[in-house]
């Protein structure tokens, strides 16, 4: 979980708004609330991305970006990222993902518009020519997608953490409660017994 630094003031203001629900329903505050939600939420891609993709295919923009020796094989949106695949003349397929949010701990291969690019290396590093073509296609698509094709993500699944983190968290919380218990008993133990 990470907070962008710009989110903290928004978080504080949002909490203040929550404390005054009557005010928060006024039109002005409702707009403010929506703006805050937009800032706080991660950005998710919408079906408008499909329209941009189709337009680029029809305009021949992908073909120009990829160059000779490769063809666009596939383009789809899955699990909150766009995936593009190209094929060489021998039918070998190479894939790149356009992620709207950087993936912590994973090497990025570039940026295009609002996206971070990740070349699929599960079957080994692609040849340099294929990598270049892949990134060119991804850059063409990433730069063509307007801001209007994004929307605040719904308050959905926040993902999962590791077992050791959960166990450590539980231990820490038990420690806090025990410390408060011992401290309180010692402080009050000197009272009117």
């Amino acid at each position: 979980m990470h907070f962008r630094s710009g989110r903290l003031p928004a978080l504080a203001l949002a909490m203040a708004l929550l404390a005054a629900p009557a005010l928060a329903d006024e039109p002005l505050f409702a707009r403010l609330r929506h703006g805050l939600a937009t800032r706080l939420a991660d950005r998710c891609i919408t079906p408008a991305v499909d329209g941009v993709f189709q337009q680029l295919v029809e305009d021949g923009a992908f073909a120009r970006a990829i160059g000779a020796g490769f063809t666009l094989a596939d383009g789809n949106t899955r699990d909150e990222r766009i995936q593009l695949a190209i094929e060489d003349v021998a039918g070998r397929r190479y894939t790149v993902a356009l992620a709207p949010r950087p993936r912590p701990g994973q090497h990025a291969d570039g940026e295009a518009g609002a996206f971070t690019l990740y070349v699929d290396r599960s079957a080994g590093d692609p040849p340099p020519a294929a990598a270049t073509a892949l990134l060119a296609a991804a850059t063409a698509l990433g730069k063509a997608i307007p801001d209007s094709a994004f929307a605040p993500c719904a308050a959905g699944d926040a993902g999962t953490g590791s077992r050791s983190a959960a166990l450590a968290n539980a231990l820490a919380q038990i420690g806090v409660v025990l410390a408060a218990l011992v401290f309180g008993v010692r402080r009050l133990g000197a009272g009117r017994w």
Binding site: A30, A41, A158, G159, Q173, V176, A180, F183, R187, G191
Partner: protein
């Protein structure tokens, strides 16, 4: 002597808890939590957001799930978890006694323990249940202790510890986010360094809450920001008639009077009042904001209410006893009172004895699983053939039982298993061989009835009451353990749906001398009526609750049963997305069960009238 009294209160409260149940009750929350914990322990995929609250879109944080995960990682099973919770509950009574004694003397202490156990009911939270409410009594007591420590000796350490406990509690249950306000309140009410300590407490609370469960809080904040404004509630605004509200108002009122009178010990209840005030204010204000707050949300302030109410009563009792008792006897009586309270708690406290008598326990489900596995039933057969009131929850718990008994050589080809809770004195011995007693306790018998059903539920269909085409039920792939499974495919979702529901159930061909029957009980169930029987000779009772039919031949035969979900006969919460509970079987079996169930209904109606 003082620690001996603490020990006595603890032992008494623990005994009372154990008397309320030694096996966890069958509870949806318990089983859902178990799925999350298993996913965390077995696959390392630990949810960063807790379970959903009763307000759609809002989620609890993960502290309870993490605690359960830790205990299960250490080897605790469901019984171990319940034992742990019961120890915490006993500690809560002890802490209430300790705090009240420390600031108000032993008479107030004894009263606090007694009020907690006898004066405030369980607020609908089963004492032998396991969910995120289970630890709140204890955590609320610790917070009361921590806040009282802040008042008695204000300082950075005391404030930070109180704030951390509040944060942990808030991460167990969303309503406890209000304890952040409690920490600020108690620092503002402290005798000195108010603003500095308030800022410190607020910062520590927010930092700790976010550090423990940032995804949950961010999720909830977004959900609130994105949701439509809640219209004001149409319900009449009224003060909830719960005893805890009376105790809370009494405690807070006495504290206000003490402040106005500038009484010498006016700060004694400040810590408890700071814990009480925010959730109590929320409860009283919520209807104005269109939100209905369940009394169970006041669980974390139970100990604080007991302390706040016991202090003024204790003062009066103290003054009275001083007057009426000889000077030498008073100290003895004051010191003996906690032990007397402990004795009464140990012998008389009833912390929810009624629950195991109305609800199946995890042990009951384990017993059912053992028998059904011996019969050779697999998960698919259990999902289709097992039935009981609250069937979806029971099925979820039943299928979680890791029991793999070898099929018995003498297994009979049963295809229906009914589990009923019946009054023991209404079950005349001897029982038929197909009836198994799973538990007998406090006048209740948990009975498993194995049957060869005359009905074919696997080919049942949902038929609109307007006469349009029926849609067959689909059992393939149905697994109640799956996330978000709240109905059989093609049946309306359970929990909140309302409307007429008609099922058409084929009658199976049977031996010529075997007459089948169907009876639908009343009570805390979704009760319907038998509409019609086609294709076979049948006798429907005048109240349309029972039908006896002749064996079906080669021609198709079926019985139509109708329920009106979300009506007085079938509250919406009693419909769980599965065919509502009916007793179906051989006519002789149904006859006998019907007699028992009707007697129970009459007894309940008589009790209600009284």
């Amino acid at each position: 002597m003082k620690w001996l009294a603490c020990l006595a209160i603890f032992a008494a409260a623990f005994l009372a808890n154990r008397r309320a149940g030694t096996a966890p009750l069958m509870w949806n929350d318990t089983f859902n939590d178990a799925v999350q914990v298993a996913r965390c322990l077995d696959h390392g995929a630990c949810s960063l957001v807790g379970v959903q609250t009763s307000i759609p879109g809002l989620y609890h944080a993960v502290a309870w799930l993490q605690l359960r995960t830790l205990l299960q990682w250490l080897g605790a099973d469901a019984h171990g978890l319940l034992l742990f919770v019961q120890l915490l509950n006993a500690l809560a009574a002890t802490i209430a006694y300790f705090v009240a004694t420390a600031v108000g003397g032993p008479i107030a202490g004894a009263l606090a323990a007694a009020i907690l156990v006898f004066g405030i009911d369980g607020l609908g939270v089963p004492i032998a249940g396991l969910n995120n409410l289970s630890s709140l009594l204890f955590l609320g007591a610790v917070l009361t202790l921590a806040c009282t420590a802040v008042v008695m000796a204000p300082g950075a350490v005391a404030v930070v510890l109180a704030a951390l406990v509040a944060a942990v509690t808030a991460n167990v249950h969303l309503i406890c986010a209000l304890f952040g306000v409690s920490v600020v309140c108690v620092t503002l009410l402290a005798p000195r360094r108010r603003l500095l300590l308030a800022a410190l407490g607020a910062s520590a609370f927010a930092a700790a809450a976010l550090a423990i469960a940032a995804p949950s809080w961010r999720h909830n904040l977004l959900a609130v920001l994105q949701r439509a404004p809640i219209p004001p509630s149409a319900e009449a605004v009224r003060w909830p008639p719960y005893p805890i509200v009376a105790w809370a108002l009494f405690g807070v009122g006495a504290w206000v009077l003490a402040q106005l009178a500038r009484a010498r010990d006016r700060h004694a209840a400040t810590g408890a009042v700071a814990v009480i005030a925010p959730p109590l204010a929320a409860l009283l204000l919520a209807p104005h904001l269109g939100v209905r707050i369940d009394p169970k949300y006041l669980t974390p302030i139970r100990a604080a209410c007991a302390v706040a109410a016991a202090l003024p009563i204790g003062r009066i009792a103290h003054a009275t006893l001083e007057v009426i008792l000889p000077r030498t006897a008073f100290p003895l009586v004051a010191r003996a009172l906690p032990f007397a309270a402990a004795l009464v708690i140990a012998w008389r406290a009833s912390l929810g004895l009624a629950h195991p008598e109305r609800v199946l326990t995890v042990d009951d489900l384990a017993g059912v699983a053992q028998v059904l596995r011996q019969q050779g039933w697999d998960d698919r057969q259990i999902a289709r053939g097992f039935s009981t009131p609250a069937r979806m929850t029971a099925l979820t718990g039943l299928l979680q039982q890791q029991i793999s008994a070898a099929p018995s050589a003498a297994a009979v080809a049963y295809d229906s298993a009914l589990v009923l809770l019946l009054a023991t004195d209404q079950l005349a011995a001897p029982l038929p061989p197909d009836w198994r007693v799973l538990r007998e306790s406090a006048g209740t018998t948990v009975l498993l009835v194995l049957e060869r059903s005359p009905l074919d539920w696997t080919r049942a269909a949902v038929c609109p009451v307007d006469g349009s085409a029926c849609e067959p039920l689909t059992w393939d792939g149905f697994d109640p353990r799956g996330e978000g499974v709240n109905a059989l495919p093609h049946m309306p979702r359970g929990g909140a749906w309302g409307g007429p529901l008609r099922l058409r159930v084929p009658i199976l061909a049977a031996a010529p001398n075997r007459r089948g029957a169907l009876f639908r009980p009343r009570g805390e169930l979704c009760a319907g009526r038998i509409v019609a029987v086609d294709g076979v000779a049948a006798d429907i009772s005048a109240d349309r609750r029972r039908v006896t039919f002749s064996p079906a031949g080669d021609a198709p035969a079926h019985v139509d049963v109708e329920w009106v979900v979300d009506s007085p006969d079938c509250p919406a919460v009693s419909y769980d997305g599965l065919p509502p509970f009916v007793v179906a079987g051989d006519a002789a079996t149904v006859d006998r069960l019907e007699r028992v169930l009707r007697r129970a209904e009459e007894a309940a109606a008589g009790g209600g009238a009284a």
